[in-house]
C-alpha cells in the first residue's frame, strides 16, 4: 500500500467526487420532475396514454445504459442535420449527454416505481376523497401523490443508489468522475488498491450515506407504518439495499 500515492492523488479524487455528485444531483432532480407526471400518465385510464408511457419505460429499461449513452454521445454526430443545428452546442458536450442519458434512463425506472405505488392506493381513499368533492388535479395533489410517494420511498432509495452506481459509466465519455480518476491513477502507476480500491471505498461510503439518508426519510414519512408495526410485532424490517435498477414490473 503506497499511502503517499493516495495522498498525492487526493486532489484528483476530490475533483472526481465533485463531478459524480453534481451529475447525480442534476440527474436525480430532473428525473424526479419528469417521473411524477409520467407515473400519473402511466396509470391513466386512457390506454393510449398509459401504453405510450409503458412503451417508453419498456425500451429504456430493456437496453443497457452504456448503449443509451453511446447513442446520444457518439451516435447523434452521424447526422449532418444534428451537427448543423443549434442543439449541437449541447449535444457535443459530454456533460450534457451524460445528464440526458441518466435522466432519460432513471425517469423510466422511477416512473414505474411511482406508478406501482399509485396503483397500490387503497380504493377507499379515492372514494372518500371523491365523496368530499375532490377530483382531477386536486385529488392527485392532495390525496394520491402524497401517499404514493411515501409508499415508493424504499424502492426509490434503491433506484437512487442504483443511479449513483450508474454514474460510473460517465467515465466512458471523457467525464472525469471518481471512476475515471481511478482509471487514470491505475494507468499511471499500475497499482490496483491505490486506484480502484480507493474509488470502491469512496462509492461504498456514498452508498451508505444515501441509505442512511433514506432511512431517516422513511422514519419521518413512513412513521404511520412504523408505529403500526411495533404494535403488532416488534420486528425490525431489513432495509432492502441497492439492487441496481431492480424493478418489480420487469
Amino acid at each position: 500500500m503506497q499511502w503517499q500515492l493516495i495522498l498525492d492523488s487526493l486532489p484528483l479524487y476530490v475533483e472526481g467526487i465533485r463531478t459524480t455528485v453534481v451529475l447525480l444531483a442534476i440527474s436525480l432532480l430532473s428525473s424526479f420532475v419528469l417521473a411524477v407526471p409520467l407515473a400519473v400518465a402511466r396509470v391513466s385510464g386512457n390506454p393510449w396514454i398509459s401504453r405510450t408511457v409503458w412503451f417508453y419505460t419498456y425500451v429504456l429499461r430493456g437496453t443497457p445504459l452504456l448503449v443509451q449513452l453511446f447513442i446520444l454521445y457518439h451516435g447523434l454526430a452521424q447526422f449532418e442535420a444534428v451537427r448543423e443545428s443549434a442543439a449541437w452546442v449541447l449535444l457535443k458536450n459530454a456533460w450534457f449527454c451524460a445528464w440526458l442519458a441518466f435522466t432519460l434512463n432513471s425517469t423510466a425506472y422511477t416512473t414505474e416505481i411511482f406508478a406501482g405505488a399509485l396503483k397500490a392506493t387503497n380504493h377507499g381513499e379515492i372514494e372518500a376523497a371523491r365523496s368530499y368533492g375532490l377530483s382531477g388535479f386536486t385529488l392527485y395533489r392532495r390525496i394520491l401523490l402524497p401517499s404514493a410517494l411515501r409508499r415508493a420511498l424504499p424502492q426509490y432509495s434503491n433506484e437512487v443508489v442504483g443511479l449513483m452506481h450508474a454514474t460510473a459509466i460517465a467515465s466512458t465519455v471523457t467525464l472525469v468522475d471518481i471512476t475515471r480518476v481511478a482509471r487514470d491513477v491505475y494507468a499511471n502507476n499500475l497499482l490496483v488498491t491505490e486506484s480502484f480500491g480507493v474509488a470502491a471505498a469512496i462509492y461504498f461510503v456514498f452508498t451508505f450515506t444515501l441509505v442512511g439518508i433514506f432511512k431517516l426519510l422513511e422514519r419521518r414519512f413512513l412513521r404511520h407504518l412504523h408505529s403500526q408495526q411495533t404494535l403488532s410485532k416488534p420486528k425490525t424490517t431489513p432495509t432492502p439495499l441497492a439492487t441496481p435498477h431492480a424493478n418489480p414490473n420487469y
Binding site: 430493456g62 443497457p64 447513442i71 457518439h74 451516435g75 452521424q78 459509466i169 480502484f196 439495499l241 439492487t243
Partner: protein, 228 residues
Amino acid sequence: MLYGYLPAILEGLGLTLRVSALSLAIACVFGLMGAAAKLSGSRAARWSAEVYTTLIRGMPELVLMLLIFYGGQIGINMLAELQGWDYIEVPPFLAGVLTIGFIFGAYLTETFRGAILAVPKGQAEAALAFAMPRRLVWWRIVLPQMVRHAIPGFANNWLIMIKASALVSIIGLDDMVHRAGLAAASTRAPFTFYVAVALIYLALTSVSIFALSRLEARFSLGVKKVQF
C-alpha cells in the same frame, strides 16, 4: 445490411450471450453458497456472507469489474511468483465471467435467502422427522419449493446481468458493444450501429421476460391465486 457488418455484430452477440449465461451459472453457485451461509448456524459463515453481500452491493459493477479484473491478474501472479511458476495470463473472458458471476452472486444470495425462508418450515421439519438426511432435505424438499419464490428476483437479476454484460467491452472483451464501436469507427455511422445493438438487447430482454413468466407459471401450478 449494416454495411456488411451484421455477421460481425452477431458474432459479438454470441460472446454477449456466452458471457451472460456463464456468469449466471457462476452467480447461481455463489448465490446458493451465500444463502446457505447466511442461514447456517455457524457465526463465521454468516459473517463472511454478510461481508460479501454488503461490500459487493455497496459499489458500482464497473468499478468492481475493473478492481477484480486488474487486481485478480496481479494477485494471481503474486501467488505464482511465490510458488515460482511462470507468468500467468488470465484470459479477459474468464476474468469478465468470473467477475460478473461473483458480483451477481451477491444479489442472488439475497434472492435465494428470501426464497428459502418463504418455504414453510414444516416442510423441512417433516422431512427431518422421517429421518431424511439433511443434504437430501435440501435437495428434495427445500430447493424445489424455493424455486417458485426465487423466480421474480432471479428474473430481475438475469435482466440486469444481460445489460451489465455490455460493460465487459470496457475491460477489452470483444462483445456486441465493442464490435459496434469498431464498425462505427470505420463506417462513420455510430448511430446506426448503437441503435442496432440496443434493439438486439431489447429483443434479448423481451424474450427473457416471456420465457421467465412461462417458467413462473410452470412452477406455480397448483398455487391458488389471490382473488380480489
